[in-house]
Symmetry: C2
Subunit: 346 residues, 2 copies
């Protein structure tokens, strides 16, 4: 069941039985706009502050994912969830009302990969029939947390990415639970994971997080290839979280140096989520919500339809805080890989 | 294998094969001082800032726990780790050099319970032969993060707790791995878990976190009793994380109202860690390090010796940030229960 240094191959791959995406206004105007379950009309979501707005994204996505699976939230055994804010307040205040046992996670923008990895392990092992894995971010809460007050109107370098406003949530079920209850075909199955370690190339520019995270993405993809004896030919797509255009170039270069060319099959959620030129998002999108939204709205439907049969989904996170940055530290990265495959029949 | 709403009973309980405690100066002067593996001579730990000091606690505890188990850190498959700081920087910068796949966790001061719960599940299920579960806090990083600059010398109300400086780390191994390699008797086994949900009684006083967390501790203990059909007679000790004297009274009252009297067997790590009167710690200790240190230095040895045969270890967390607090939000709590038992023979 263990496979190599950092990977697991599941004997009985758990199913993703539903997915929900709740997006902000700018995301709704982007190339994936028509694919989201919900596009908010107002980035305050009717709340009194940005943090409460992000919390409402989580709550809405969690409830919608359960509903789309034909479940009440009460039949979800565990939540695996996180966000970018200090002490995970978007998660705590967003998911409180669900009254479901919670494992709070922090993997920066890689959190969706971490949440799905743990959800898949716990479901396959029989500890839970169904888990909800979700992650959110909000442009305004992230700017307030990490950068400048919005009203300051600071200029952003072209290497900077735009924190996505949105939440993606998936219900992961054991095969047994899915077979017993599911009438619809699952969206996909999780056949394996490759868990990331912290990778630090010493970059210190918090306005160039794509470059900071690319080495972590490289390492997780490379590790996946080593652990399974694979190369790029095993995947229809390798999809990173939020490297953006700058990070993508570095990732492709790093892999090429090791003899792997993923150029034809690489995709980055940060590049897909926005129309960079029209929407002024510079290097692309970022934030936990970026990969979570893209997964739920676009990647999973394509896998369900069989357009892609096997995808390596690799959300990427930059492990910095304003404190670590101001103390002169580098920006290390981490990336968690999830192997998602098409389900032929149940 | 699932047992009730929020609990699991392990068929093949994983073992805790080693534990390491690295404590700060004040903790070393407290009642548990002689029990720590390492007591630092200086709370800066030779580092250039408080955050780097906390990171060094994590690194030292992780390496020592591996060493005490007769392992290199390279033979640890996963890290489950967290701290109190925004974006978990103590963890990221502390564990980076270990180059081990990491699941970053945030459960406030309940993090040690969360880390052990996930480590135990992953080890029992065979996804890992050995995991390291650890959590840290540091008085000075926490004051900087949540309260006032140290130099301000603010007065603290008597309901306030003192954030512990220290890190506790345990190596959790599957029975199979432990049998194959371990020559020494394990410290203990983890026979089950009860995972907490967020509980909010609406308290808003961040200087009275014991009161804010007591309802969560109550709920997890009560849920444990319901899920297993148990009551207080099943445990030699029920040990909460950091309720302190104020929170303890509330917990005992809440349980009494439901017909359970745990007065004779309740212990709180926050009350054990310091001599409240002499050390001016007011209601007790707190922080992820408080329960992690007490577990590793005092609780596990007593279980190993058979003085206690079955303990419910319930680290408690207060889910607030300065942002949530300043926006007028309440301080919700969460508590993760871990059932730890004496190992007769392997």
């Amino acid at each position: 069941m263990q496979k190599g240094k950092a990977s697991i191959q599941f004997d009985e791959p758990p199913y993703i039985i539903s997915a929900a995406s709740v997006a902000g206004t700018k995301e709704g105007e982007g190339p994936l706009g028509s694919l989201f379950d919900v596009t908010e009309q107002d980035d305050m979501m009717g709340q009194k502050n940005w943090e409460a707005a992000e919390s409402s994204l989580q709550k809405k996505a969690a409830e919608l994912a359960a509903k789309k699976a034909g479940l009440t939230t009460g039949s979800i055994r565990y939540l695996f969830a996180g966000d970018l804010l200090g002490q995970l307040i978007a998660t705590s205040f967003g998911l409180m009302d669900l009254e479901i046992p919670l494992f709070g996670l922090y993997g920066a923008c890689s959190t969706m990969g971490e949440a799905m990895s743990l959800g898949a392990m716990v479901a396959e092992a029989g500890y839970a029939d169904r888990c909800l894995s979700l992650a959110s971010s909000h442009f305004a809460t992230a700017e307030k947390q990490f950068r400048f007050p919005l009203a300051y109107g600071n200029q952003r370098p072209y290497s900077a990415t735009w924190t996505a406003t949105g939440c993606g949530a998936v219900v992961i079920a054991s095969q047994k639970a899915a077979r017993n209850e599911q009438t619809k075909k699952p969206l996909a199955k999780i056949t394996g994971i490759t868990t990331g370690k912290i990778v630090d190339f010493g970059l210190k520019d918090s306005m160039n997080m794509g470059a900071a995270m690319a080495p972590a993405a490289f390492h997780t993809i490379w590790q996946n290839f080593q652990d399974f004896g694979w190369d790029e030919r095993q995947f229809d797509r390798i999809i990173t979280g939020d490297l953006g255009t700058v990070g993508q170039t570095i990732l492709l270069d790093l892999l090429r140096k090791e003899g792997y060319d993923i150029t034809g099959i690489h995709m980055d959620c940060g590049i897909e989520l926005y129309d960079g030129e029209k929407q002024d998002t510079h290097a692309g999108g970022s934030g936990c919500g970026c990969s979570a939204l893209t997964l739920c709205a676009m990647i999973l439907p394509k896998i369900q339809e069989g357009i892609w049969r096997r995808v390596l989904f690799v959300p990427t996170g930059a492990l910095l805080s304003t404190v670590s940055y101001n103390e002169g530290n580098s920006v290390p990265g981490i990336a968690h890989g999830v192997i998602i495959e098409h389900v032929e029949s149940v």
